[in-house]
Symmetry: C2
Subunit: 114 residues, 2 copies
DNA sequence: GCTATCGCTACTGAAAGAGTAGCGAATCGA
DNA sequence: TCGATTCGCTACTCTTTCAGTAGCGATAGC
């Protein structure tokens, strides 16, 4: 498939519905996309700092994700990378995943009741 | 990498932090993972119905995702597939992405003000 | 000039995904 | 009982994506 970011309205990786939610899932479902938003929520980061924060992800993938996220209006670049207004808005939806993941991790280590 | 699902505490695709949130992002960041949760939120679906709902995703990928999501306690199987209690809980966090994606799609088709 | 860092590109080998065909089991109607 | 259909799922091939590494041109400090 092309290198185009999954704009809503256009067909999505493996789906032709073009539903905005599916385009968003396609965008966020690419490796490190959500991790990048997560790391940028703490403030602007340079390319290499972001790469470091993402566990040393390869620069080719990082650059690809950043281009996609910028094309979709979630990430801005004014000397270093940061969340756009929309990106910050999306992060407010993403934020509760943090504490939920903690709870979820505990539940996986102790067997469920019943 | 192995076929193991990204359990929190264990290293994650491309990251060694083992942070629950990163494990969750790794799990949800695989193709169709969030789409499957989204479709199952409407009620139980058979394998083929789910495959249809996901735009004809290939059965090999669908089965792989379902195994991972079951191993991580998000999807249950009692004749047909459905969200587990935890999966339903996670969906409540995922749900606001729907209307947000709609708004986001509009913003991409009309230029930003200013 | 030399060194160091920056953003980013190019390459290679490995992994994941798309797409298709088809199996064994259950279900249906005749 | 038989054939046809549907089911969950596996196996295979081909393409895309990703990880990992090396290195470029530009900038900054010494």
């Amino acid at each position: 498939m092309s290198d185009a970011p999954p704009l809503p309205g256009a067909p999505v990786r493996g789906s032709k519905s073009g539903k905005p939610i599916m385009a968003l899932f396609d965008l966020l479902g690419r490796n490190w996309a959500m991790g990048i938003l997560w790391q940028l929520s703490g403030g602007p980061l340079s390319f290499r700092a972001l790469q470091e924060a993402c566990g040393g992800v390869s620069p080719s993938v990082l650059n690809k994700r950043l281009k996609e996220l910028r094309a979709c209006g979630l990430v801005a670049q004014n000397g270093g990378y940061c969340l756009s207004a929309q990106g910050a808005e999306l992060f407010t939806l993403l934020k509760p995943f943090g504490p939920w993941a903690e709870k979820w991790a505990e539940g996986l280590h102790s067997p469920p009741p019943g």
